[in-house]
Each structure stands twice: as structure tokens, then as C-alpha cells.
């Protein structure tokens, strides 16, 4: 159950029967390009939903526009395919009207970082209880390959034939800056990793932001090679575990040491190559460390995967304090209408 505060728990509807991924599968034909990473993400999401045990009737998927925005059609829950960039705002309204629902928001890097950057920022800082997942393929797919806000500088595309001059957005850093309290990173192909991250995101009460590095076979094939190339990934990525030293490498022979107070991360040898006490232990509640981890990238440092930051706090509903499902009634309305100065004409009084 996606419940950390028992006062806000969904009404108990009795024993939930065992669910499988099939229970969250619609009869709609999935129409993504063959080889698209979205298939793997969809599979992971269905599995996590089944395991979480929420009734499909209590689950809602909201999306904007883009390839990933087709998600709701392929999930047998409630769903709303809305307009470009605005899914976090629609989802905020859904959560306001019914805080019990398990609400997921799906949007690509164009949806979340460009046209919807504003709404993403505010959903995060308000800490609306949403599971925001962002497949990031660093390109606009549905509009045919233009560079996106996440594209690397220099990317050639139909709208940047000489190479994009823009610096890419670091999504995890942006989320940290917006005040997100759950930030994680994984990749479409990492089926031994992605489900665990999604599960943790769903369990978090408040806004959880998950960036899923994803290959676009048609317009940006080969992006995030560090994650996808089986030969490279062990040496170029770091899998984070809270409370564990940050060790990586095919032979588990490298670690990340953070020098404080400068906050500089460097690779140090581990095992035969060096002492393990040099290696920094991952603390997902440490904002400064999360900032360093979010920035780590090739060529000098591995890409950090897993939960970068997780510090729960009261979510939007709890903060508002008007969560009670109370609806104004006629008695209250009568009081409202006659609040303040009134005067009576004649003998009869309508009230």
C-alpha cells in the first residue's frame, strides 16, 4: 500500500486478491516503435502495480503528449491522456479531489522539462503525492527527432542541423532544486533495477521523481551508451544503496570518495588497490551528497543510478489541512449567505 500516514489510508475494501501484471493490461494494441524502451518501462510498471496490490480502480495514470504519454491506454486503470506538458497540473487536481488514489504521471523529457517544466517544478515543491516517471531519451520522438531540453550540446537534429548550442537540463538536479523529496534514476533496460526504484517511488508519500534513461531507436539510438552497453555499464555507472559504501566496477574495485567540505567526488581504488574506508557511504537523506551524485557523469565519474535522495515530509494534502472530504451543505450555505450585515424588510423572513 502506498501509505505512510495511517490517517490518510485508503478505505479498506477487504482483502485484495493476488494481482498480476495481466490485471493491469488493456486490450489495446501497444503502438511504439519496435525496440522502443517504453515497452520495458511499461512491463516494469505493470509488475510493480501488481505487486503493490492497489485495486486497478484506485490507480490513475495521467500523461501529457509524446510517445511515453500513450501509457494510460496500455494500463487497465483509470487514465487521462491530457495536453502537452500539463499532466502534473491535471494530476494535482485529481489528487485534490481524491487523495486516496494512487496517481502516476508519465511524461518524456520534452513534456516534463520543456513545455511542462513549470508544472513539474511546482508539483515537486508542493510535494503532491504523485509518482512522476520521466522516460528520458534526450530527443523529441513523436514530433520526429528535434533536439530536446535534455539533448547533449552539439546534437544534430532537424531543428539543429549545425548542432544544438544549448546546454542540457540535468533532470535530477532540477528536481532537487525544486525541492523534490524523492529523486531516483534508472534505465529502461535495467530490469533488475528499474522495478525496485519504481516500487520505492510508489511507496513514497509525496512527489516522487524517477528519471528513466531510455533509448530512442529511431531518433537518438545509442544515447546513454554507458547504461546500455553491457561491456561498459559496470565501469561507467554506480548503483546506489542507502547505507552502503559507493563501490562500482566490473570487479568491484572502484569507489567514490567525496572530499568535504569542497564536495569534490573522485574515484578511488578499492580492495587490493586501496583501503575501503576512503569510500563514501551513500546517505539518501543528505542533500549535499545528492547534489554531487546528480552531477556525476562521464568521462571522469560514473553515472549514479538508484535513489539519489529520499527525505519524506508532509505531502500537499496533509499540508493543506482541508483534506477532510467535507462538502458544504444547505445549512452551512444559509449561514454563508447571511454572513455580515443583513437587514429585514417587512414581516416575513424567507429564512
Amino acid at each position: 500500500m502506498n501509505v505512510m500516514n495511517p490517517d490518510l489510508a485508503a478505505p479498506d475494501t477487504g482483502a485484495t486478491p493476488e494481482l498480476t501484471a495481466r490485471d493491469f493490461t488493456t486490450d489495446q494494441e501497444v503502438r511504439w516503435c519496435p525496440g522502443c524502451g517504453d515497452y520495458a518501462i511499461l512491463k516494469a510498471v505493470r509488475g510493480v502495480l501488481a505487486e503493490a496490490g492497489r485495486r486497478p480502480d484506485d490507480v490513475v495514470f495521467i500523461s501529457g503528449i509524446g510517445c511515453a504519454a500513450r501509457f494510460p491506454y496500455y494500463l487497465a486503470s483509470y487514465g487521462f491522456h491530457t495536453i502537452h506538458g500539463r499532466a502534473p497540473a491535471v494530476a494535482t487536481g485529481v489528487k485534490m479531489a481524491n487523495p486516496d488514489l494512487d496517481v502516476w504521471v508519465v511524461g518524456g523529457d520534452g513534456d516534463f522539462l520543456s513545455i511542462g517544466g513549470n508544472h513539474l517544478m511546482h508539483a515537486l515543491r508542493r510535494n503532491v503525492d504523485l509518482n512522476l516517471i520521466m522516460p528520458n531519451n534526450a530527443v523529441y520522438g513523436l514530433t520526429k527527432g528535434q533536439y530536446s531540453p535534455a539533448s547533449a550540446t552539439g546534437m544534430r537534429s532537424p531543428s539543429s542541423p549545425s548542432g544544438s548550442v544549448e546546454a542540457p537540463v540535468n533532470a535530477a538536479l532540477l528536481a532537487l532544486g525544486a525541492g523534490a523529496r524523492f529523486i531516483a534514476r534508472s534505465a529502461d533496460t535495467l530490469q533488475d533495477h528499474l522495478p525496485g526504484v519504481l516500487k520505492a517511488a510508489q511507496a513514497h508519500r509525496g512527489a516522487s521523481f524517477v528519471e528513466i534513461l531510455q533509448n530512442c531507436v529511431v531518433f537518438n539510438d545509442g544515447a546513454f551508451e554507458a547504461v546500455r552497453d553491457k561491456g561498459l555499464t559496470a565501469d561507467r555507472t554506480l548503483r546506489l544503496e542507502h547505507g552502503k559504501p559507493m563501490i562500482f566496477g566490473k570487479d568491484r574495485d572502484k569507489g567514490i570518495a567525496v572530499d568535504w567540505p569542497s564536495g569534490t567526488a573522485r574515484v578511488v581504488p578499492v580492495g587490493d588497490g586501496g583501503p575501503v574506508y576512503d569510500v563514501t557511504v551513500h546517505d539518501q537523506t543528505n542533500l549535499a551528497l545528492a547534489t554531487i551524485l546528480a552531477r556525476m557523469d562521464a568521462p571522469d565519474l560514473p553515472l549514479a543510478l538508484g535513489v539519489l535522495y529520499h527525505v519524506p515530509a508532509d505531502d500537499f494534502t496533509a499540508q493543506r489541512g482541508d483534506a477532510p472530504r467535507r462538502v458544504i451543505d444547505r445549512v452551512a450555505l444559509t449561514g454563508l449567505l447571511s454572513a455580515g450585515k443583513t437587514w429585514t424588510v417587512g414581516e416575513t423572513d424567507a429564512a
Partner: protein, 622 residues
């Protein structure tokens, strides 16, 4: 507590009754709107009919003493026939030269001008651009001038209450109010009580303002200052028995939305982004948080509209409100709500445009935007509120329509109606009809776009309901299954269905009716929104003279009511009066090509006067 001098004896003037128009004007820091609110309250409690018109600058605090920093408040008080704030001013209170300069043109010849003589010193005159002191150079000979040292008299009255000199001087608005209270024999007890509670933590400030008000009142008594003879006896209204309160258009919207929530049993979710003049609805509803009303200050207009749509998708009553430029930003979301067929109320408190335009001034120029401002064909109902009390009813009707027909509804108000106040008879809450929400949906064979034959509405299944999980979206869907469909014939069918829904709504709304003047004849004056008071007054006056002229006011601009063409045919000429360059006229001309429409248009940021409409209609009647 209050030393209550004998009010002027008005009995011998009973024959000379008439409404009175009073305007207070001063610097935007002078508390003019506060003074107006207090005068309004007192007018209400003494049984007068009234309509107010606050007219203030967009600048929060323009430099003191400048003409662009002038704030004004006008009220017409009188009997039952008071439906506007009045064309020309009978009594003008000018607290400084800039206020005189910008408001004198409204004062009728021979009208009473009360000026704070102390403010007409060199510096104030220069700031207002006067080469010579108008109080002394004879330029005001056409008026009855009372140049009073209000600042000095206020200081003398207020200082003994233990306030600073500056605090004492700021009480001069209450001195002026006290004087006007004297002139119109109004009770100042409620204002004294209000001051006491307002400044409960600074009782000396309350005492200073009360002392200033009493001093102004006494000044009237001692000098026997009276309003111009015609106004000595302002007849109280003789309204229907009942309990009354003062209501602005904003109040009407706020209470109407609260009522819609109570009548439907749906929790209200008002999602909005601050913008003048619609912000006041957000403020009003935010105060009702404890009453089961939820408000959400979104990050922008688009988020406000889409969050409201999300709230409706999840089973609440989603409402978004804005003004002028904000309405443009909501266009895409309105298309989504139309396609998804979700109930949604969108309030547009129109203001003068284009772009930022004149945020605090009135215009009715968003009609075309409301009727047509969406990509693709996305028809939706557009209603307009004709005044404060009508705002309450219109917004309830909008909610009923939105929920019954599963459609977004636009409600137009404007800057005049929003801020104007009138006496409002409290409705009998028990007599208000429920807004039925049908959640009895059979999961067997359910699909989200199966239609009710009578309303063409789809079932409103909401997340959490068992067995009714479904997907909505802005992509075109098959009329049969609700699945995504690019089939050409299907798009035609869905487009036709969306249009047909408006026809079904038309059938449920009351037919068109002439509400003032004659039922047939020479001229029919057609209006919508806040022009109602001026149109009705002008038409009633002309009809009383024997002219064959009628007035028809449209609340429903889309769909237009039944029977409109038949009514048009009963008049030689149809005059369409609106505060734009002819948007409704163009709309009507397209639908009724054989009717002869003439436009009566004004785009000055100011409401129509009765005289303007009277003159225009006489042209057609002569």
C-alpha cells in the same frame, strides 16, 4: 455614545424625491473605497435601493496627489428604480486637486462640490497641473462650491484622541463621510461600530476616525448644509419583504459557487491564478476553506484550468476563474475538457484589453474569445451574468448545465459587475433545486462515451469506482467504443455530436423573453451582461413616455435561447448594445441575416450611462 444631532427635516420635500448620485474622490491612499463601502452599508440599512461603482487605478500606490493616482467611488441611492450607479453626479467630494481635475466632468451643472480647501495648496495644485487655484479663480461658478478646511477640522477633532498628527490627518475621509451622512440623514452608528472592531487593537485610531466622522456630521448640522434641493429627500426603496444584504458581483460568484457545491453535493475545487479583477473570487472562496470549499492557487492560468479539469475527472466540481489575458491561456485546456466531456466552470471577469489593456476598467470584448476561442470545433455553453445578484444565479445554472450535460461552461462577468454592489434579497436555500449527479452506472458493458439519449451526456464515472476504469483523452475517439479513432466518418460523427449537445442544452434553458418595455413595436434593445441596469432604465423611461420599445437581455449567449427570431420579428429595429465594437451583433447577424441589427457600442473602459442609451434609442424612435 454618539452625539446624534437632529437630522434635516425632509418631510416638506416629499414631492421632490429622486435618486441621488454621490461620488467620493481622492488619492488612492485616502481610503476612498473604504469610505464607499461604509456609505453603501449605511444606505442599505436605511432602506435605500442603490448601485455602486468603484473606479480605481491599476497602480497600487501611484505618487500621491497625481491625477493617475486618483481613486473614486460612486453610488446612486434612491428607490426601487435604481439599477445603475448613475449617469451624472449630484454631490462630488474631492479630497485633493487631482481628484477634482479627474472627476469634475461627471458633476452635473449646479451640483454640489465639496473640496478639502487645505489640499489646494501650491504643491497639490502643481501636481494636478493647475496653474491657478480652481477654488478661487471662478472656474467653478457653475457649481455650488463648498470649500472646507477638512484637513484642519479633522486634525482638531482627531488629535485629542491621542493619535499622531499624521494619523489624525488620515481620518479626513471619515470627516467627509460624516458630512455626507448628515446631508442624506444616514445613520453613522454602523460605521462607528465597524471602526471599533476594525481597530480593536488600536482603539485610539478608532476613536480618532469616529471623532472625525462626528465632526463632519456636526459641521453639516451647524451650517445646515443640505444637498441640492432636488435631493433633500431621497426616497427609500420599497422592496419585497425578506432579508437583504449588500452583494457585489464577486460576492455573487463566490456564494453562487458555494451554493452549486451544496446543491450538487460535490466538493468545490476552485483553481485560479491571481489576476485583476478575478482574483477577488479566489480570495472570497479561500476564506471558505473551513466550509468545505477547496481553493488552489496554481502556478499559471494553464495549470489552473488543467487542475480544475483533473478535479472534475476525479469527481469534484472543478472551477477555474480568470480575467482577459488569462482566458487566452486556458484555450487549449478548454478544448481538452470539451473533448473529454467533463464538467467544468470557467469564469472570465472581463476587463479592457487587448493584452494587459486597462486591468481595472470594464469591457465586454471577450465574447468572441468565449464563443470561438478554441482550436478545432469545440462548442461549449457561454453564459453571462447581468449584475451582482444575477451572478449568483448564473453560476448555479452554469454548474447545473456542466454536470447535467458533461460539458465545460464559460461564465462571463466583467469589471463593472465584479465590483459594483447592490441590495440583494437572500434566497430561500431550501427552495433551491438540487443539481443531480448520477453515479448509478452499471459496470456491465460500461464504456465512458455511451450517451444519454436525452442530454447526450456521457456517464460520469470517476477513479475509485469499482469496475468502471476507463481512459479519457484529447485524441479523437470512436463514438461507439470510446477507443482512439482516426476514422474520417467517426470524426464527422463526433463533431456533430458535440454540436448537437448544445441543441439539447438549448432545449433545457428558458426561452427568450422581453423583460422591460413593450412586447412589440419600433425598437428592441438587446444587451448582455452588466449593461442590463442602464438598458432597462432607459427602456422603461421611454416606454413610460409612450414609445414602443422593448428590452431583451441575454444570459445565454451560446446556445442562444429558443424563440429569439420570433421576438426579433416583432420589432422594426433591433439595437444591440454592448461594451465592445459589435461582437454580439456580429454573432446575431450571422444567425439572423434578415433582421436589421444596429450596434450601440462603447469601448472607453466605462459602463454605459442611461442618457447614452436613451439618446441612441430616441434616434431610432424618431
Amino acid at each position: 455614545m454618539l452625539d446624534q444631532p437632529t437630522p434635516p427635516d425632509l418631510s416638506d420635500n416629499a414631492a421632490a424625491q429622486g435618486p441621488a448620485v454621490i461620488r467620493f474622490a481622492g488619492d488612492s491612499g485616502d481610503g476612498i473605497q473604504t469610505l464607499g463601502a461604509e456609505f453603501t452599508k449605511s444606505s442599505a440599512l436605511t432602506g435605500h435601493g442603490f448601485m455602486t461603482f468603484p473606479d480605481f487605478p491599476a497602480e497600487i500606490r501611484a505618487p500621491a496627489g497625481t491625477t493617475f493616482g486618483v481613486s473614486a467611488f460612486q453610488i446612486q441611492i434612491g428607490g426601487d428604480r435604481v439599477k445603475t450607479h448613475g449617469d451624472t453626479v449630484d454631490v462630488l467630494v474631492a479630497l485633493n486637486p487631482a481628484a477634482l481635475k479627474t472627476n469634475l466632468s461627471a458633476l452635473r451643472p449646479g451640483g454640489l462640490l465639496i473640496a478639502d480647501a487645505d489640499a489646494f495648496a501650491k504643491r497639490g495644485l502643481e501636481k494636478a497641473g493647475y496653474a491657478a487655484n480652481p477654488l478661487e479663480d471662478g472656474s467653478l461658478d457653475g457649481y455650488r462650491l463648498e470649500a472646507i478646511e477638512i484637513s484642519r477640522l479633522t486634525r482638531e477633532a482627531a488629535l485629542p484622541e491621542g493619535v499622531t498628527k499624521k494619523e489624525a490627518e488620515t481620518a479626513r475621509n471619515f470627516w467627509a463621510l460624516g458630512l455626507v451622512y448628515w446631508m442624506f440623514a444616514q445613520d453613522r452608528t454602523p460605521t462607528a461600530a465597524w471602526l471599533k472592531s476594525k481597530f480593536a487593537k488600536r482603539p485610539e485610531i478608532a476613536a480618532a476616525n469616529t471623532a472625525a466622522m462626528d465632526a463632519g456630521h456636526t459641521y453639516g448640522d451647524v451650517t445646515d448644509m443640505a444637498p441640492p434641493p432636488r435631493l433633500r429627500a431621497v426616497a427609500p426603496a420599497s422592496p419585497r419583504p425578506g432579508t437583504y444584504r449588500t452583494l457585489t458581483g464577486i460576492d455573487g460568484m463566490v456564494l453562487g459557487l458555494a451554493a452549486a457545491s451544496a446543491l450538487s453535493g460535490l466538493r468545490l475545487h476552485y483553481c485560479s491564478y491571481p489576476i485583476t479583477p478575478a482574483s477577488a473570487i479566489l480570495h472570497g472562496l479561500a476564506k471558505l476553506g473551513g466550509e468545505g470549499v477547496a481553493t488552489f492557487q496554481a502556478e499559471d492560468e494553464i495549470a489552473a484550468a488543467t487542475a480544475a479539469i483533473g478535479a472534475s475527472f476525479a469527481g469534484g466540481l472543478g472551477v477555474t476563474g480568470t480575467s482577459g489575458p488569462g482566458m487566452a491561456l486556458k484555450a487549449e485546456a478548454l478544448g481538452l475538457a470539451t473533448a473529454a466531456e467533463l464538467p467544468l466552470i470557467v469564469i472570465d471577469v472581463q476587463r479592457a484589453g487587448p493584452s494587459t489593456g486597462m486591468p481595472t476598467k470594464v469591457e465586454q470584448a471577450d465574447l468572441n474569445l468565449a464563443l470561438h476561442g478554441r482550436h478545432g470545433e469545440a462548442p461549449l455553453p457561454v453564459f453571462a451574468a447581468a449584475g451582482p445578484g444575477d451572478s449568483f444565479e448564473t453560476v448555479i445554472e452554469a454548474a447545473r448545465t456542466a454536470v447535467t450535460f458533461m460539458t465545460p461552461v464559460i461564465v462571463l462577468s466583467d469589471a463593472y459587475t465584479a465590483n459594483a454592489a447592490e441590495p440583494w434579497r437572500l434566497p430561500d436555500v431550501d427552495a433551491l433545486a438540487d443539481i443531480a449527479v448520477d453515479r448509478d452506472i452499471d459496470p456491465d458493458g460500461f464504456h465512458p462515451f455511451r450517451r444519454d439519449a436525452e442530454t447526450l451526456a456521457r456517464p460520469w464515472a470517476v477513479p475509485g469506482m469499482t469496475g468502471l476504469a476507463h481512459r479519457l483523452g484529447g485524441i479523437e475517439r470512436s463514438a461507439g467504443s470510446g477507443h482512439i479513432s482516426y476514422d474520417p466518418d467517426n470524426h464527422q460523427e463526433m463533431t456533430d455530436l458535440r454540436a448537437a449537445k448544445l441543441d439539447h442544452i438549448r432545449g433545457a434553458l428558458p426561452p427568450a423573453a422581453v423583460t422591460a418595455g413593450t412586447d412589440a413595436g419600433r425598437v428592441l434593445a438587446v444587451g448582455w451582461g452588466s449593461t442590463q441596469g442602464a438598458l432597462k432604465t432607459a427602456v422603461e423611461d421611454l416606454a413610460a413616455e409612450g414609445h414602443a420599445v422593448g428590452h431583451l437581455h441575454l444570459r445565454h449567449l451560446s446556445p442562444l435561447p429558443r424563440g429569439l427570431g420570433e421576438i426579433f420579428a416583432l420589432y422594426d429595429q433591433v439595437v444591440v448594445a454592448e461594451l465592445n465594437s459589435g461582437q454580439l451583433r456580429g454573432h446575431l447577424q450571422g444567425l439572423f441575416p434578415h433582421v436589421s441589427f444596429r450596434g450601440l457600442n462603447k469601448v472607453t473602459g466605462q459602463p454605459f450611462t442611461v442618457a447614452e442609451i436613451d439618446a441612441a434609442l430616441r434616434e431610432d424612435l424618431s
